[in-house]
Structure formats: structure tokens, C-alpha cells
């Protein structure tokens, strides 16, 4: 008799599946949206329990470690930052013609106007679900190492985070962080080897992103990077 999928998902969120079952269920998350939804339901049901655990003061020295680990000089990982990327939006309009962008919410953040980088190779990707219209537009400038992401039609995934991956040539997917929820965002210090065929993909992950460093959830959008201009 097969187990109720809702119970397997519940055990997955509880953490009580054994290693083999956990692997198999995590694989199913890549292809089965109903499994993803079941996991989201259980996370939302159980997470409030975390708030009942008594507080314990963290050791004073710990902040210094965390502060040091997240300083840009020490942290080589690409980091997402909010940005009103007006230049990216202009580029997107040129490439996609009459595509209607979702109106961005009013923001109190100062508008950062970026002049389009020139003289270096630029690449662009339109990420969509299979057969779908573009959900995200991504531009990358090799000279500055800056990637901009403009969401145009991203479906929210309750109880999950959307994680971005770079797949260069035949390499394993490499995480470049979680997709911000609203508006355009930019990523700096990103090194993409333009000589390789590069795909950008978005997967559905547990809140906070994949715990394993590889996609553990279904890939909902993907697109190949194509060169826009060369120096």
C-alpha cells in the first residue's frame, strides 16, 4: 500500500524521512508541483512552532565572526541587492519590443541610474517556463561583473524561495542567490565565462534556498544567455 503523499511531505518537513527516502522525495520536487505544494503547506503549518522555543543569548564573540564572514572583502559569493535598474529596463524594452512590464511598486529608495556599460560583452537571457512567455529578463555585463534581473511575470510560490542558478557549459548548476520578490535587482561580482553556453534557471526551493548547494526543487523558468554586443 503506497503512503499518502501528504504524509511523506509531512515527514520530509519534519525531517524524519531516512536518507534514501529523503533523496527520492527531494528528486520528486523537481518534477512534481503537487509535492512542492504539499511541502509548502506543511512548512506553513509547522513553522509557528519555532516561535515557542525559549531564547538563548548567543555568545558575544559570534557576531564578530558573522560580521567578518559577510564583509564584501571576505565574502566572494555574488550577493543580491535592490536596485531600480532603469538601464536594464530600457535594454529590455529594446530587445522585447512591445512586451508590457508589470508596473513597479512605488519605492522610497533613491533611483540609481546606471549608464549602460559599453565596450564590454553584454549578454541577455529571457527566462520562461517551457512554452511560456518570458517571466524574467536577465542581462549580464562581463566588464563590470554585474547581472540585472527584471521580473515581468513571475508566479509567486507560497512557502518557498525562488533560487537562481547559472549553468555554464556542462558544469553543475551554481547558485547565485534568491530572487527578490518585487522589482528589478542587481547582482555584482559575478563571473560568467562568456565562451561557454550559459543557461540561467530558477528553481523552487525551501525558504532560504537550497540547503544542499544544488537545486532540490523543480526548475520553473530557464533561458540561454545570448550575446547582445561585443567590444
Amino acid at each position: 500500500m503506497a503512503d499518502d503523499p501528504a504524509m511523506i511531505a509531512g515527514e520530509y518537513v519534519l525531517g524524519t524521512l531516512d536518507a534514501a527516502e529523503h533523496r527520492a522525495f527531494a528528486r520528486s520536487l523537481m518534477t512534481d508541483p503537487s509535492a512542492v505544494a504539499l511541502v509548502a503547506d506543511w512548512q506553513q503549518r509547522l513553522a509557528p512552532l519555532l516561535l515557542t522555543v525559549p531564547e538563548v543569548a548567543a555568545p558575544a564573540a559570534l557576531w564578530a565572526r558573522i560580521d567578518a564572514a559577510t564583509r564584501p572583502a571576505n565574502d566572494n559569493q555574488p550577493v543580491w541587492r535592490w536596485q531600480v535598474a532603469t538601464a536594464a529596463a530600457a535594454l529590455v524594452a529594446v530587445v522585447t519590443g512591445g512586451l508590457a512590464l508589470r508596473p513597479r511598486p512605488a519605492s522610497q529608495a533613491p533611483i540609481v541610474v546606471q549608464a549602460p556599460e559599453s565596450g564590454f560583452a553584454q549578454q541577455i537571457a529571457a527566462l520562461s517556463s517551457e512554452g511560456g512567455s518570458p517571466a524574467l529578463l536577465v542581462t549580464y555585463d562581463a566588464g563590470s561583473g554585474r547581472m540585472r534581473v527584471v521580473p515581468v511575470n513571475v508566479s509567486p510560490k507560497p512557502g518557498h524561495s525562488l533560487e537562481l542558478w547559472v549553468i555554464a557549459g556542462k558544469a553543475a548548476p551554481k547558485s547565485i542567490g534568491l530572487l527578490p520578490k518585487e522589482g528589478a535587482a542587481a547582482l555584482s561580482h559575478l563571473k560568467v565565462d562568456l565562451a561557454l553556453d550559459t543557461t540561467i534557471a530558477v528553481s523552487v526551493e525551501p525558504i532560504g534556498g537550497s540547503p544542499t548547494g544544488s537545486p532540490t526543487g523543480p526548475v520553473v523558468y530557464s533561458g540561454k544567455m545570448i550575446a547582445l554586443s561585443k567590444s
Binding site: A47, L49, P211
Partner: protein, 178 residues
């Protein structure tokens, strides 16, 4: 002004690269997250490593927080729990015997705010389970016990633990959905 709103501002500012907001966010939430992590990783040095990993993840992914999907503290607490469970499983793949007795009923009231309603509903439904069923769910979720560890501690086969877990989860689901 509720504390929840302020945490949202801090998390959003952290997403914008604001170091002062990140430090403030840490100051306000570290005790909560450390408590959660220690329940799963009682070994202090492992708990501190997990804290560092969790807060680095929070720094890197703050721009990915979506206020429509839950409170900031729940988002951060879930990240901390996932990191702790992952490290616990890797450090003890075959399970380990706990030395200290688990205080399964030591719980404080959750913060007031958007999560309060969800927590009340969950506590009501947990209260409707048998004491053994409730302890099983809490041991797994808050203490990170694996099926193997539960089986060893309670002295029952893993198959029995699995069906008890399923029964408890089914009752919780029915209660919360109804």
C-alpha cells in the same frame, strides 16, 4: 507600532546592503535563532557554526524575503532550522542518543503579530493530539530527531514510529484544515 513591522524594515534594509540594519536585525533575533538551533544541535561549537551559516544565508538572501508569505522571524527561524537539521544529519548520520531529557513542554508564548493566529491554531490542534503523538511531532520538528533516534529513545521499531508520525500528521492536517 508592532515589532513585526520593524523587523520587516530591517530585513528589507539588509536586502539593500545596509550593514547597520543587518547588525540591528542580528541583535534583535539572535537569541531566538540560537535557542532554535541549540534544540537541534546541543553541542555548542556546532550550534555556533550553524548560527554563522544561518546568518550568512540571511545576509545573502534578505532581498528574497517576501512579506506576503509570513513574518520575518518565521522566515529567519525556518532558515536556521533547515541549517541545523542539515548539520545534525551530516554529523550523526546513524543517529545519536541524547543525554539530556527533552523538556517537550517547555515553550514560551510566541510573539504577538501576524504569526500569533497561526501559532494559536497550531497549539490548539497539537493539544488535541494524544500526549505521545504531540511529543513525537515536537521531538522531530523542534529537536530534529530522526526516525532512528525516535525509535531508539522510545524503544519501538522504526516502522511503528513511522505509522505514529503519519497518524499524528494526519490528525494535525485535518484539524488545521477544518
Amino acid at each position: 507600532m508592532s515589532g513585526e513591522t520593524t523587523l520587516v524594515d530591517l530585513l528589507l534594509a539588509t536586502g539593500g546592503g545596509d550593514r547597520a540594519a543587518y547588525a540591528d536585525l542580528y541583535a534583535r533575533t539572535s537569541a531566538k535563532l540560537f535557542g532554535i538551533i541549540l534544540r537541534i544541535l546541543p553541542e555548542r561549537s556546532m550550534a555556533e557554526d550553524a548560527m554563522q551559516d544561518a546568518y550568512v544565508k540571511i545576509w545573502r538572501n534578505a532581498a528574497g524575503y517576501d512579506a506576503s508569505r509570513g513574518s520575518p522571524i518565521t522566515w529567519m527561524a525556518t532558515i536556521a532550522r533547515n541549517v541545523a537539521i542539515d548539520q545534525h544529519r551530516r554529523a550523526h548520520p546513524a543517529g545519536r542518543q541524547r543525554d539530556e531529557s527533552i523538556e517537550l513542554d517547555t515553550m514560551v508564548d510566541g510573539n504577538a503579530g501576524p504569526s500569533a493566529e497561526a501559532l494559536t491554531a497550531l497549539q490548539t490542534c497539537l493539544g488535541r493530539l494524544d500526549a505521545d503523538q504531540r511529543k513525537l511531532v515536537v521531538a522531530a520538528y523542534l529537536h530534529g530527531e530522526s526516525r532512528e533516534e525516535l525509535a531508539e529513545r522510545l524503544g519501538h521499531p522504526m516502522g511503528t514510529i513511522k505509522s505514529w508520525l503519519h497518524r499524528s500528521l494526519a490528525r494535525l492536517k485535518a484539524c488545521l484544515n477544518g
